[in-house]
Amino acid sequence: MAQIFPRSANALARGSIFLGLFLVLALGAAVFALARSGYVTRQGLILEQPVPFSHDHHVGQIGIDCRYCHTAVEKTAAAGIPPTATCMNCHNQLWTNAAILEPVRASFKDGTPLRWNKVNDLPDFVYFNHSIHVAKGVACVTCHGQVDKMPLMYQAESLQMNWCLDCHKDPVANLRPREEVTNVAWQPPADLPALQRDLAIRYNVKSKTSCSTCHR
């Protein structure tokens, strides 16, 4: 009886065992890595903006406080994007002819707000509230990164749920005094853990991992 398969089929059969296993593992690893990469999370991605606003310049070099522009951060869920008028407080005096600021002046003249593109964008089914985080002593830079070193704004963290939960499970390690929340250059004291334990008691900070804490 003639052979059905050529001799090379043996090598193919043995190889397919290894390859089958390897492909499954490799595919799993690829999906695992992709789901955590910036392609999916937009972490580190710089978005196109109407004006190339530099936090590096305004915060890092000039030293403007976060709340000068993001005025609502201590009171409401959204930190707030400043109106053009806030820009014009300074820029009616400074760089009044700079071409780069033309969209700001145009916006101020005809009253059309600048359309900034949202960098740190949480899904709509998450009820995130800035004011409670600030009130409990979680600093701006804890989630937004060192914005004072960002010439153009990007998302510093993954914003994935397990990243939220990392802190919600153990919030104490991310606390600092309320008055230092917007300080981008805060130097923690030597006895930081003791201070944080003390703050947790004073601010009544609790681990919050119930579904309805964020999904209501």
Binding site: M1, F32, S158, N162, L165
Partner: protein
């Protein structure tokens, strides 16, 4: 030495293989089903079953687009047809595992001609069963993280204290071990089909799946070890899978669910339902393909006995449910029983007792156990009866629980029925395909039953 001289369990018992068969006639007869032309009824049956598959696809598509609101379950009856049918299908699979694993370890040689078929039935029943938990989530593409524990970016894990996650493990283990067991058992026969095949593509397909089997002594040695190991792995599954399924109910606190008798009662019911389904399918199969020499009245008789035994255990379970309710003196337990016996679903409870307790009583008599017509009718009663049992356990326990203000009725919709009949169509279509392309009876194991093989010992 003839077959008649062989030791049999009873003097009156018919043989497990009709006289006059040798290794060659067995292979010829069984492989002729695969390579021969199919009769007209096969295509008619396949067409009807395929229609069922299409109905299933339609019903599931509608479900995915519209949501589970198209089904009849709603508060207070949160579990309806989806769980009834899941439990029903999972139960049916149990005969396959029992026949392949436990009867193998107990050296019951009559299992030989029905094990392949029953294992296939197990696989297809599991395939039908998993459709329900997957689709009752409404969004089956998200079911991955609802059902399976894996490191996802949400940091979410299933609740390991819930029997529902134990269910996922029990059923997936059951499915994969059954598949392996079935496939390993098929390898020598696939090689026989490869050697029998005339067309080149058939030789190639059977050749690939027979994994280079050449009938060498070493192959047989490895095969026997692997098969016995898998039998050992499958044996606890016969008991564990339906025990875990019963925990879904028993760990709840609803009267009618919260009962310690549930695990053994469910396992017995599963084997009962499984043997009924084997009989329902095997009686027409042996008739239409002329396989009466291989699946003899001895097999039918034995399956009838298993059905009678497990049916009596199930009947004991029903009696104990009534007794426990009375003995507990608990208002809610007693009302649950009263509601089952006289409430709006009393007709279903009566049908359940008729099908599962009364209809099986003729099996005490050999005359009925050896009559294909009587056995087939009884097996159909049991198929219906076990479905009624799950209906009684699930909706009638839920629809009237502790607070009368929350009582409501459960009425399945046409989409419930379309899905249910659709899975029956899927099951039958898979069965038709199975008997068409694979040997429905283990040829090499049948050869151990021939007089020639009896000089030494059986394959296992």
């Amino acid at each position: 030495m003839s077959v008649a001289d062989l030791p049999q369990s009873s003097h009156h018992a018919p043989p497990v293989l009709a006289p006059g068969h040798g290794p060659a006639t067995i292979t010829d007869k069984i492989s002729s089903v695969v390579f021969g032309r199919m009769p007209l009824w096969f295509y008619v049956g396949m067409l009807i079953a395929f229609g069922g598959v299409m109905m299933l696809l339609g019903a599931l598509t509608k479900l995915v687009f519209e949501g589970i609101g198209i089904w009849g379950n709603n508060q207070p009856v949160g579990w309806g047809f989806d769980i009834i049918n899941f439990v029903w299908w999972i139960g049916i699979g149990h005969a396959g595992t029992l026949i392949s694993a436990i009867l193998l370890l107990l050296r019951q040689e009559w299992r030989t001609s029905i094990n392949r078929f029953a294992e296939a039935m197990t696989l297809f029943a599991v395939a039908c069963a998993v459709i329900y938990p997957l689709f009752h989530t409404g969004r089956p593409w998200l079911a991955a993280y609802w059902l399976l524990p894996y490191p996802n970016t949400m940091g979410m894990w299933p609740n390991f204290r819930s029997p529902l996650i134990w269910d996922v493990f029990a059923v997936s283990t059951y499915g994969s071990v059954s598949l392996l067991f079935w496939y390993i058992g098929l390898i020598p026969d696939l090689a026989a089909l490869r050697d029998k095949a005339v067309k080149a593509w058939q030789q190639r397909v059977y050749g690939i799946f027979s994994l280079g089997w050449r009938n060498s002594a070493r192959h047989w040695h490895n095969y026997e070890s692997a098969y016995l190991l898998l039998a050992g792995l499958s044996t606890p599954l016969v008991l564990s899978v339906h025990s875990v399924v019963s925990f879904d109910f028993a760990s709840g606190q609803i009267p009618g669910w919260h009962a310690t008798i549930f695990p053994p009662y469910f396992v017995a019911g599963a084997v009962f339902a499984g043997f009924a389904m084997v009989l329902t399918l095997v009686i027409p199969l042996r008739r239409f393909f002329g396989l009466e020499d291989f699946i003899t009245t001895r097999h039918l008789d034995n399956m009838g006995r298993v059905m009678l035994l497990t049916g009596l255990i199930v009947a004991y379970g029903y009696a104990m449910e009534l007794f426990t309710a009375w003995y507990s003196g608990n208002l809610y337990e007693m009302y649950m029983v009263k509601n089952r016996l006289t409430g709006p679903y009393a007709a279903i409870y009566a049908s359940l007792i008729l099908c599962n307790v009364l209809a099986i009583q003729p099996l005490w008599f050999e005359r009925f156990r050896r009559s294909v017509v009587a056995l087939w009718i009884i097996s159909m009663f049991v198929n219906f009866g076990m479905w009624f049992e799950r209906f009684i356990i699930i909706p009638t326990s839920l629809h009237r629980d502790f607070l009368p203000g929350a009582w409501d009725m459960y009425t399945p919709t046409r989409w419930d029925f379309a899905t249910f009949f659709g899975t029956i169509g899927l099951f039958l279509a898979l069965m038709f395909l199975f008997v068409r392309v694979l040997p429905a009876i283990a040829m090499f194991e049948m050869k151990t039953l021939t007089p020639e093989a009896k000089i030494k010992e059986g394959a296992h």
